[in-house]
Symmetry: C2
């Protein structure tokens, strides 16, 4: 693959199921050039919350984070998921380092103001300091970043991993000379015209196509914030934005976002 | 304080209780020169295990780590304790990064062979690569290291935090030109001649003194592995080894280990 700086994001079953995670890690090793891996891990946090008698609360597909849920999220994301991924990358001879947004003051957030919904300890990104990662990337080390951030005053916060990946890709675009690629890994091989048919991948998706697909009901609710983040990164100058599963990404058969579908981008 | 590389270790109530942790963090800021902070956090792991219906098993004051206990240890040590400490250091304007032994392949262990006791997922240290920390230390960043390690083949392991601190101090002594100081923070102001009397601090403790105190019953069981590690670090060339609480360490009134009590070391 072309020499670029790549930010890959995966969550859910892709980082929790052993076979799926193996495919994700194998894909990571295929990218040449500096690599950052951003991960979620929501199902395990929900399961642990339930075992502890804390009922997870969601609003429009996003988690509401009270003090106990924050503790669970930090333990699961920054603890178990993050360190297991790091150990598994090391086992593949890929030097790696697990980070939260508090480490190196990487991602500073402010707690989301209480409006219609009190999101609890959820952080909206204020500043991403990817410069702190340059010495690590320069030494061939892969940062593994979890969806925990901080407010700079000692409070840990929970931030959506898709948003973190887009913000990091955008920040790299603004601070490094390398082109930047952002990859969202999904269970499905791409954005599909027909949710029932894995072969109906949309190869190039423009904002106009997306609106049309959305109106037709082809985009399910959980995908909307992800695509919102993905298009925001593209608008902000990220050079390539892809959505797919490890197989379709490796084969270049996934969905690539474009500003508009023109002759030059539509040609293979 | 003299310009040295300092490794400070704290665990238990010192990192769990909010007031005690504040005193520990304030102490950390007083050391000049490169600083590494190693932490445990046992009581919270035991409490979480109990809430999950996993009864913690101990042998001679050390934890036996089955698969579920390992997961709890990783979540608590590498997750909640580690990231909270990092966020609280950042809030004090001290750049910090939280690490396990898997990150940067910092501490590689082998799973302890099954003998009289099956310790489970407990790692005995094989290699400490403190060289990986030099760029961070050189940039004024404080690594915060938890008691989770790995075997290099993808398995996370639990390793005693006192042992990690001693091994890291020893590895720094062998790889940096700076003198190295190792500080074990305790609840008590030092090693005491009389456990009932906080004023009975032993200012200088030699191996011979330690044996005599141990025979007299003044050293309680939990302190023995710590003192074993502390003396091992001193024998291995670590320049200063101190034991005390944040107040006594800050005041220089804590216990300092010495090879033997001679006129030169006994004089103030």
């Amino acid at each position: 693959m072309k020499h670029m700086l790549t930010v890959v994001k995966a969550g859910g079953r892709l980082v929790e199921d052993d076979d799926a995670r193996r495919a994700v890690l194998d894909l990571l090793l295929r990218f040449e050039g500096p690599l950052v891996f951003v991960h979620g891990g929501g199902a395990m946090a929900s399961a642990l919350s339930r075992r502890l008698g804390i009922e997870p609360r969601m609003h429009q597909g996003r988690r509401i984070t009270d003090a106990e849920s924050l503790q669970v999220a930090v333990m699961v994301y920054a603890g178990w998921m993050n360190k297991r991924l790091v150990a598994e990358l090391q086992a593949r001879r890929r030097p790696a380092i697990g980070l939260s947004g508090a480490d190196l003051d990487l991602i500073r957030c402010r707690r989301r103001p209480v409006g219609e919904v009190d999101w609890g300890f959820v952080g909206d990104i204020e500043a991403v300091q990817v410069e702190a990662l340059q010495p690590l990337l320069g030494a061939g080390i892969t940062p593994v970043v979890c969806a925990i951030t901080h407010d700079g005053r000692g409070q840990l916060l929970n931030t959506n991993a898709d948003t973190i990946a887009a913000a990091m890709a955008t920040a790299f675009r603004q601070t490094t000379p390398l082109p930047v690629r952002l990859v969202y890994l999904l269970d499905r091989p791409g954005v599909l015209r027909n949710a029932e048919d894995d072969r109906s991948i949309v190869p190039l998706l423009s904002p106009a196509d997306y609106e049309a697909l959305n109106d037709s009901g082809a985009i399910h609710t959980g995908m909307r914030p992800k695509l919102h983040n993905a298009f925001a990164a593209l608008q902000a100058g990220v050079d390539e934005v892809w959505l797919g599963n490890p197989d379709s990404i490796a084969a270049g058969r996934a969905t690539r976002l474009v500003q508009s579908v023109t002759a030059s981008t539509a040609a293979p």
